[in-house]
């Protein structure tokens, strides 16, 4: 009937596999000169001055980690609470409006979030914490939280909607009150879906560049102390985004930025592998 269907499917699958393999190969190849010169120990170095051949990556790794931790700490509880509210308490029309709102938020380009951060968030943080400027890890984390909130909320809403009506009725018939129904039936059953939303959001937060670049301050130094999230800092993505235009193609600086890209890819891969090994992505 459709002689081209099977070959097309095989071709698509093969192409996907090739792309998946090509990305790390490309990153390894382009960053190889850097690793050959500076070695793996540069990951733990703290100074990044490309013009003096200093390529310490630790501040950006710490920056990325902080931004993600802040974003997830804020977005996960807010998103789950919003999903519970929409599914369990709101009328159907209100829940539908909430979903629409979240879908609109999810569709906004990241540069717009960055501009909102510049316009609203930075002055707010500057005045609230009496800072020289609002550029900080906290700003980056908050903007990321805002960006990943719709993704986790929408997936949590879908997951809660999938909870078996029979089991909910069985719980009610056993005299479980609303809270017990939520914590003992709905959330445990919806958790795999919620978890998938969190993992996807984590991937987006890890790779987000533009919005973070506009608010993080791009200062290549370790936070002092390391828990100070009110200082300007740098993330791996904001560093690549800011400096890739200045680095000559094939130069050592270019290769170092590719090494940052490889680290990002490895962080993403580690999260996926961890989720896979622990069965978190099921």
């Amino acid at each position: 009937m459709m002689p081209f269907l099977k070959p097309s499917l095989y071709l698509s699958a093969a192409l996907t596999l090739v792309i998946v393999l090509a990305v790390p190969v490309f990153l390894l190849q382009s960053s190889a000169p850097f690793w050959a010169t500076y070695g793996i120990s540069t990951i733990a170095a703290t100074e990044w001055f490309p013009y003096e051949q200093l390529y310490g990556m630790l501040p950006a790794i710490i920056g990325s980690t902080w931004a993600i931790v802040i974003a997830l700490s804020i977005a996960i509880p807010c998103a789950i609470a919003a999903a519970i509210m929409a599914n369990e308490m709101m009328s159907a029309s209100m829940a539908s409006a909430t979903r629409l709102g979240m879908e609109v938020l999810a569709a906004i380009p990241s540069i717009v979030y960055g501009l909102i951060g510049l316009w609203v968030l930075l002055p707010l943080l500057q005045h609230s914490f009496d800072l020289l400027s609002g550029h900080s890890l906290l700003a980056a984390g908050l903007i990321l939280a805002l960006m990943i909130l719709p993704m986790i909320t929408l997936m949590s809403m879908d997951a809660l909607k999938q909870v078996s009506a029979e089991q909910r009725q069985a719980g009610l018939s056993l005299g479980l009150n609303w809270e017990a129904l939520l914590f003992r039936i709905s959330l445990p059953q919806a958790w795999p879906g919620i978890r998938s939303g969190i993992l996807l959001a984590l991937g987006r937060a890890l790779g987000e560049t533009m919005a973070v670049m506009l608010v993080v301050g791009s200062l290549d130094r370790m936070p002092q102390p390391i828990t100070n999230i009110l200082q300007p800092a740098q993330t791996l993505t904001s560093r690549i985004g800011r400096e890739i235009g200045e680095a000559a193609f094939g130069s050592e600086h270019f290769s170092a930025l590719m090494a940052c890209g490889l680290l990002l890819a490895l962080m993403g891969l580690s999260i996926s592998l961890f989720a896979h090994v622990r069965g978190l992505n099921k």
Binding site: L172, S173, Q189
Partner: protein, 262 residues
């Protein structure tokens, strides 16, 4: 019509001290989306026995059960349990007194033992003895099959066993009345027979209101019949009278063709 049933236990109850408080329904009406779902339903459940609620599809049988344990709240009329209006009781507490078993077994994704005590609060769970667990499982005719498997996931049980687990889970709450919404319709004949036998034993100490589409089953197990059609109670009688000498023409039609023209 619509007179209360005479209390005639299906089986002797001399050895069973507990006498269930009677459930009395008076002039129950329910409208959903402007449509009459139940109209002027009145009956009193006997203190023991299996009372089958029969009628064609869409007659309002399951809805009636949901009103009785307040899964539907918008009804009018009066439902009393031991002379107390059930609307004055806390809904969650009431649902423990009036257990409801659905058509499909709904086991929770945890072990058999955890499923069994799912309806108990934390303190009650701590105080639950193995004897109580054994009693509930024996009442549901499941003890011998799961005695050594209480830590296994409940999902590993067969459908029939899962339904009996649901029964045991309701029974451990010590309900006064059990509502059963076609509990055997999704089961194989052997599982159906086991549940019927265990429910017959249980009905010696409490009333079981059993929705059934299977008239042979209703005849086999019931002490009383309540026949409703199009949301109205058409006839209520003891099972023998209903099946041998139905008083209403609608009942005769239903017994002959399983449909009625109300």
């Amino acid at each position: 019509m619509n007179q209360s049933l005479n209390v005639t236990p299906a089986m002797p109850t001399d050895a069973l001290p507990a006498i269930a408080p009677s459930l009395c329904v008076e002039h129950l009406c329910l409208q959903l989306a402007g449509r009459d779902i139940l109209s002027d339903i009145s009956f009193t459940l006997p203190e023991t026995g299996i009372i089958s609620l029969v009628g064609p599809s869409g007659a309002g049988k399951s809805t009636l059960l949901r009103c009785l344990n307040r899964l539907h709240e918008q009804w009018q009329g009066s439902i009393t349990l031991a002379d107390q209006n059930i609307q004055h009781d806390d809904a969650d507490a009431l649902r423990r007194k009036i257990g409801l078993i659905g058509q499909k077994p709904a086991v929770f994704p945890c072990s058999i033992g955890d499923n069994l005590v799912f309806g108990l609060n934390r303190q009650q769970r701590k105080q639950t003895t193995s004897a109580q667990i054994q009693t509930a499982l024996m009442q549901a005719a499941l003890w011998t099959e799961v005695e050594q498997r209480l830590h296994e996931p409940a999902a590993h049980l067969s459908l029939g066993q899962q339904q009996r687990l649901c029964l045991a889970r309701a029974l451990i709450l010590k309900p006064s009345i059990l509502l059963l919404d076609e509990p055997t319709s999704a089961l194989d004949p052997r599982s159906r027979d086991i549940i019927e036998q265990s429910m017959l034993s249980l009905s010696q100490s409490m009333p079981l209101l059993w929705v059934s589409h299977d008239l042979e089953q209703a005849q086999r197990i019931s002490s009383h019949i309540i026949f409703i059609c199009d949301g109205k109670l058409i006839e209520q009688a003891d099972a023998d009278s209903f099946f041998r000498h139905p008083k209403r023409i609608e009942s005769r039609e239903f017994l002959r063709w399983s449909v009625c023209d109300c």
